[in-house]
Symmetry: D3
Subunit: 247 residues, 6 copies
């Protein structure tokens, strides 16, 4: 099976980290197709950028949907996830969604550990969107700056491990979810240094995409997630506009 | 004071309805600047279109922000509302948000009445985003098609009134919120035919924008809604890209 | 339009502060009618006093209802707000309610800052009554005594500003709501010293009352907020008893 | 031990029904002191009347507090319950509170059955105040009028039984709570005609008051329910005013 | 009336403490039948042990049900409480359930104070099962080990008192619930050293069992708590198997 | 990798259905080890039986834990799931848990469709235990009896399909979860007859177990899910007793 791993950011080195973490978790026979956003922001870090990145997600899915069995949106906060599920026929998972749902099966409460304090408020909103606030023990972020988003996991490795152990001990978090695409792959390298299990969102997203493909879910024919009726538009990316117009 | 009433849809006749309803509620001295989206969809009717419309909202705000005292995003589900509050310095309200919050002051529970059953699931999500699900008695929609979105309130006037009365009686809704920009202005014309108070979202948005301007709120200097640091981008609308880059 | 600003406490100097803050926010053409409770407590500071003050609120509304277009109950915790909405025909807002709902449009989470720790538990109950607990980041109170409730905002100005900045920074509150009628007017004078926007409840109540008048909501003819059927009573204030008896 | 059963309504025949139901459930050695409100409404049936009745509750408790070991507020919606707990030193339970909490021990979900549709919205608010909404399967009310509130349980006996069985079957309610003081005593007489257990609120209130006395809880010395500091007042009932003034 | 006080643990000295606390609170004429688990764990201290203890609870109830009027399950977390209510005809209360519900009548928020930090996560789950999370201010536990579970209340008396006072002051808890069967009887001896009321779960369970007996609730004939249809089984305790088989 | 699929019921033919559905979804290289409970009930259908079945689950895991990489508890309501996660070192998923979490990735709201109305109340409790009530649109059950639990999916195929389509249309459920181990395998055969996607809980459990193995989560060293300290016991199954005693 082929899984599209879609980075809505324009930073290709982050795509590489995501793809590597996904590949390490893939089942035999799963092929990963990793793509980087052709336009947008270097990395999505707030609600405004998630809206802009969300539009790019839909453009990228319109481009690649017919070449894969499922897709994973691999950025903070699952931009455009709900809309993508309405519009396209293949199963689509969000990286944050996959990380949180997987964490639910490893304990009673999870904590999110991330690298920038500016992300916390938006992350809380994201958890509430998934209806999982009762399972969340804490959202903890470093208060340090960083030299390069692509390498933030190397730069702050020790601090991220310490923060994970702190939230496990102080907030009673049963599981740690490292969040933010730039942290992809970190969980595997620090597994034995953290006192509770750690979830890698990129790996989780890949496994959940595999799970959905295996279940062979039908595209809804009725309800909120059926494909919308054809509609004209102005000024959208051509492939996306044609898909929306059902041309 | 000048209030930007921003229609993220490309249908100018809907903008006219919104602007008229807002004007009818405006205080002396309030000027309404109504603009229609230069690109996008004729009307936003699902999550996918809200993402695309949300990107257009940010472009329009980048264009018009310096000419007004506050802005109202006048479309279903408040596309890009959170992001707009992060990015820009003026107060910004959403049309749905304003309608729901205003309704809270007229009773204990509100019901949303709208014209298309396809909107219900997404509307529930919107109410949850605002944290108001405990105040919502019901979301009720016509199951009829319509000839023109701009004139749906005329075409289905009697059915919308009947549905409003039905939800007041059966769901115990203390207040009705007519939702969807195309219903702007309807509340005033059917006021005496419905047994409970009715909120017009366009009028509510205008009044709430006036309220925010009067309170003179400061742009946050810290936290989730401070203006983000400068960031480069690729392929965004030029004025928006420059605002994001702080150029 | 005429707005009744009703202070259910017997301290006239607090009424003056409330009225001044409301006037500063009023639209052209809005007249404020400020009245002080003729009996009761000097200021309401707990649940028991809110019950007693609530009865006074209903007496005052029975007295003044026909002379105004709307009313604002200007005391801690919105005493008798629900009952007043049932009993009377004009729109009625609570000062706390207005402050909280307005704050929702300036960020994702608000914090209440008040001057007495004894108010916190009751305030939490009030926020829950409005169904807004998910939007509340914190309730913070000074632990200092005060010489005069009417002048507490002058006496503790610096400490209130510091507490507001502390809750914005530590609790992630996007907006500050100064609560308690004695703090009316403070927000405007300290606006530039606090890093996030600040809501003045008296100003917010006035603007929300204006908004309701502009929307021209009908008195409910059915349901929980229709005017109750005529009922006899014993020992109530005469004007209120007559209104309840529909004489 | 002596338990004050306090009817905040002025209808003495309802007091008799409450007292009889309480006596039937009392332990050996428990004496019931039943009192009727000296002023107020014949029966409390909405939020406005609950505020007025609440003020009477505090007056009655100021009068009788030193003659009993505990008190039960025996009216719809527990008027002034929170305030009474702040102000007085003896344990105080509400009739609705006692009925709901007791019902929780007889199943997973309860339904309230009452005699007037006008009470439903307010009842929901009361359940939320107690934080028990997740345990509530339904609130069901007759839509019939009644000749006399004191005899409504005789007049509508068959319809109330039918409604109780209907909500057990259709809403999945594991327990029925007959609500409203006028229904006191009904549960015992219809016990064998309803397919699930039925709670009598007057009996439950008596048993819970006995339980609190047996546990010998201390009056809080700190926090939200400690006795408030002395405060002057104007125009309150003399005994209550003196208690508030700590004279 | 006879109340079965059932200790699902095998430690008889804890049974003695529970029985003594219950007896001290009993009404005249109430007889307490205290039994200790014939098999299982010395004390239940996690979810796994609660499952195993729960099976023992059902065996013990099958053995003793016909000799008593009601039963109290006297262990951490109310093992098998829901199942016991389905299977047997007598009223059954849980010790934790009774403590929490009783605490709700003594303030707005309770805190649980217990002797082992390992119990906190499971306790939170238990509170959520009862739907009472909104009434819970905190769960606080000693972080000390202990020499003997039966005597932990003597060994750590001073620390438990200090922790109770700390949570009342810092978490705003209006009531303290000492939790865990080994703490039975402690509340009465430290009552005057703690600034807010304290609930003894064993005493509360006895009083609630008395209350249920006095209300004479019918065994449900329909719904989730009616007695299940006869079913065969393999390898269960003989008396329990026969009750399940309705032999 | 080897996955233990553990049927806590004694009906071997149901185990066969579960194993077949799991195998159909397995990745290359995944081996399924299916075992049937050696003692207990033919099928778990209420809370009481879940407690008894839960004790059997722990016995079975003690027996088989060292021979597999992960385990799935394949019965209604995930008996003993939390306790199993505490006690054992391998990843363990519940069949209901896996079905619900997987359904969350296929839409916004799921509905459970099952074959016996007696299961609904308990199922609601199970959903709340997972904290997923906001994602649940409905729980719908046939009201028909059945000849054999093992063949109920054949006997009632048409009615289950009709009920699934009905809940999708009327309750707005975006996804259907067929629940109860006896329905394992049904989803695949009726996929094209139901208008929205359908989740098979056995297949979902297998995929989620695979996902957890691929993520290589560490056994918690601290907190609620670390392995409990050694403890003696009486009368437990020998292998389980030894594991608890850490012998």
């Amino acid at each position: 099976m082929k899984i599209l791993v879609l980075n809505p950011n324009t930073t290709a080195s982050v795509t590489d980290r995501i793809a590597a973490a996904a590949r390490a978790a893939a089942a035999p026979g799963t092929e990963i197709v990793a793509v980087t956003a052709p336009r947008g922001l270097p990395y999505i870090a707030n609600r405004a950028e998630a809206v802009l990145g969300g539009a790019v997600v839909l453009e990228m899915l319109a481009e690649h949907q017919h070449t894969v069995d499922a897709a994973a949106i691999a950025a903070f906060g699952d931009p455009a996830l709900g809309g993508a599920r309405e519009l396209f026929d293949i199963p689509i998972v969000g990286m944050t969604e996959a990380g949180l749902l997987t964490a639910c099966m490893l304990g009673r409460s999870f904590a999110i550990v991330t690298f920038s304090a500016g992300l916390v408020s938006w992350y809380r909103e994201c958890i509430e969107w998934h209806g999982l606030e009762r399972r969340c023990a804490a959202i903890r972020a470093l208060d340090a700056g960083f030299a390069s988003v692509a390498d933030v996991q190397d730069e702050h490795r020790a601090r991220l491990v310490a923060l994970a152990n702190k939230t496990a001990a102080e907030d009673g978090a049963d599981v740690i979810v490292f969040s933010g695409a730039p942290l992809s792959g970190l969980a595997a390298t620090v597994r034995d240094e953290i006192a509770v299990p750690v979830v890698d969102c990129a790996a989780a997203a890949l496994k959940q995409a595999e799970a959905l493909v295996a279940l062979r879910p039908r595209k809804p024919q009725i309800g909120a997630f059926r494909r919308p009726a054809a509609k004209s538009s102005t000024g959208l990316a051509p492939k996306l506009a044609r898909w929306i117009a059902r041309e």
